[in-house]
């Protein structure tokens, strides 16, 4: 086998590839949300990582205090956290649309600090375990690797959500309004469409996507207050690499960078933390606008 030639047992290789694919699906979901939010609100949502963390904690609370299982949490948590996002948008973000981009970044950074600070105060730095649902425990032996059911589910589910989002934005009437309002909100309003409400709902939707990723991440990584902070920085690098101009671009970039990171863990583990940043540097040197970006 070719893998033996490279000196890596196939179990380890495919295991890391799968983990890379899972990380990639979180990168894709989060950068998708960032791109959708940026398109409508002109704000880079620094609180995205904190909202991902909120999603995971929401699932944990639902299980702990209401006995609500994973499957329901998968629906309820994004709605709850999305609603919280809508409150944030109505209270704070809506005042910033006419200002420079950087104020949106600073405000959402402040919100992220507050949320993560509160959760660290009450839940400490160590993570809380969250077990996967009964139906998805165990796995399949594929001969060349062991495939845990839950991990397969995460990859399939997030890929489906990503593609549905893409379909909704690129192929439906609602998506057409959204894209039009991104280009020229005043003109779209003149056609009688309530753009401010669309902006609010878009933010709620983007935040909901982050929370969904958080719920899916809860059984794989522990639920912890810092789970979003380091992730969001990597997702920023992913966004810089892909550019926020295209939805499909965000999905493709997210998944492929996850896979590359997984492969790096196998062949050059020292660089696994930094490989995405190194790729970002290379992209900045060769294609400054990003792989799918429009020159701005």
């Amino acid at each position: 086998m070719i893998f033996d030639l490279l000196g890596v047992p196939p179990q380890a290789l495919f295991g890391q590839l799968l983990l890379g694919l899972i990380n990639g699906s979180f990168y894709a979901l989060l950068s998708l949300g960032l791109a959708v939010i940026f398109g409508m609100l002109n704000i880079i949502n620094f609180a995205h990582g904190a909202q991902y963390m909120l999603g995971a904690f929401c699932a944990y609370f639902l299980l702990q205090f209401a006995g609500i299982n994973y499957w329901l949490a998968l629906i309820i948590a994004p709605i709850v956290v999305g609603a919280f996002g809508i409150v944030l948008e109505r209270l704070f973000l809506k005042h910033l649309y006419k200002l420079d981009h950087l104020y949106g970044l600073l405000l959402t950074f402040g919100i992220a600090l507050i949320l993560e600070g509160i959760f660290r105060r009450y839940f400490g730095s160590s993570g809380i375990p969250y077990s996967p649902p009964q139906l998805l425990t165990g796995g399949y032996n594929l001969g060349f690797m062991y495939l845990p059911k839950y991990r397969a589910w995460v990859v399939i589910c997030s890929l489906t959500v990503c593609l549905l989002t893409w379909f909704m934005i690129e192929k439906t009437r609602l998506g057409a309004y959204l894209r039009a309002a991104t280009e020229n909100p005043t003109l779209v309003r003149a056609f009688g469409i309530n753009v401010p409400r669309m902006i609010t709902l878009t933010y709620g939707f983007g935040v909901g996507l982050a929370a969904l990723a958080g719920v899916m991440a809860a059984p794989i990584y522990n639920v912890s207050p810092q789970m979003g902070a380091s992730l969001i920085i990597v997702v920023f690098a992913v966004v810089v690499i892909g550019g926020m101009g295209s939805i499909m671009g965000a999905i493709v970039t997210g998944f492929s960078l996850g896979i590359i990171e997984g492969l790096t863990k196998v062949f050059f583990p020292q660089a696994s933390n930094t490989v995405i940043f190194v790729i970002m540097v290379i992209v900045l040197l060769t294609r400054p606008a990003g792989l799918f970006g429009r020159t701005t």
Partner: protein, 355 residues
């Protein structure tokens, strides 16, 4: 970039305004008498962060570039200065297993600070030339990502001591004359470094070069159309800002005899943004004031004992130190929503003076 800064009253920009002169005299005289009644180590911490914030402000306040990665220069300069002062020997890997070794003895503090500053300048050149390839919001994300990459290098590089950092850095003897283990000698050394750098920044801001920077901040396409190579100006400003940040970071390493991961991690990048925003983006004295407020708050909350509140039968145990990030986040939100000019900026705007 439409950063809201103070609106300048009509006066020749090269002329020193009386308000700035008075504020400067007040600041310097306060700093001279302060160590008599305030703990000098605390004052030195304030001065190091004030210089850091002033250096950072050069970029955001006068070019409109938001760097979210200044911890990179602050942290790495402090590592390099600490290493030079404590060990000296430099080993650089250039191929697996091969090292270029420069056998230096432990260096005196002035050379250690110089070394840390030089490394910050070099990193500023590299990071700056990458980051200015993207505009606006992407610039912030690129700088943040680059800083995070260098954080992981700092975590893995053998000389940084990983989680422990570099401890027990000797303060040494400055120029072979001033023994820095004397606290007052150390204090006035930091004082002189701060004042010199502060005046340098002031000089840069009101130089013709600084005027071009402000033109880029207000309207970059227009500056380009006037024939300015704005990329070069932005890069120069970035390198200057990184270099001065390097002075602050190196000095901090010598003062506290310590370089650690805290200084190179992303919350530090956020903290300097907060200090500058609170004091006033694009004001001369704002960043220093913002830094003093934030550092004072941190010190106060960290040293305050546990507070137990009894409200309506609920017992609420408060450990104030744990709330620092929450309070900082709240200050961000309040500043952005209510006073984007910052404290000094609002004062200057109210009295129509330059500060």
């Amino acid at each position: 970039m439409a950063v809201e800064t103070k609106s300048l009253p009509a006066s020749a920009p090269t002329q020193v305004s009386w308000s700035e002169l008075i504020a400067f005299v007040l600041m310097v005289s306060f700093l001279i008498v302060a160590p008599l009644f305030i703990y000098p180590v605390f004052l030195m911490k304030v001065l190091c962060f004030a210089l850091f914030a002033c250096a950072f402000n050069l970029l955001i306040g006068y070019v409109g570039l938001l760097s979210f990665g200044h911890a990179l220069f602050f942290g790495w300069s402090s590592y390099v200065a600490a290493h030079l002062a404590k060990v000296g020997k430099i080993s650089i890997p250039y191929w697996s297993g091969h090292w270029i070794v420069i056998p230096l003895p432990p260096l005196p503090p002035e050379l250690a600070i110089l070394g840390g500053t030089a490394v910050a300048a070099l990193f500023g050149l590299i990071a700056g030339s990458l980051a200015i390839r993207r505009q606006g919001i992407y610039f912030a994300m690129v700088t943040l990502a680059l800083a995070q990459m260098m954080f992981f290098f700092a975590l893995q590089a053998p000389f940084t001591g990983g989680e422990d950092g570099i401890q027990g850095v000797p303060r040494g003897v400055l120029f072979g004359v001033f023994d820095l283990s004397n606290i007052m000698t150390m204090y006035f050394t930091v004082f002189v470094i701060f004042v010199v750098c502060f005046l340098l920044i002031y000089r840069i801001i009101y130089s013709p070069f600084g005027e071009v920077l402000k033109a880029i901040r207000e309207n970059e396409p227009r500056a380009i159309s006037l024939g300015y190579k704005t990329e070069r100006y932005k890069l120069a400003a970035f390198v200057l800002s990184a270099t001065l940040t390097g002075v602050a970071g190196s000095t901090k390493a010598i003062v506290f005899q310590l370089a650690s991961l805290t200084d190179v991690d992303w919350p530090m990048s956020g903290e300097v943004v907060l200090m500058t925003l609170l004091g006033g983006l694009g004001t001369v004295f704002g960043p220093a004031l913002g830094a003093s407020i934030i550092i004072t708050m941190q010190n106060y909350l960290a040293s305050a004992g546990d507070i137990t509140l009894h409200i309506f039968g609920f017992t609420l145990a408060m450990q104030p130190g744990q709330w620092v990030p929450v309070i900082q986040g709240a200050i961000f939100v309040i500043c952005v929503l209510l006073f984007r000019r910052g404290i000094v900026g609002e004062i200057a705007n109210f009295f129509r003076i330059r500060l």
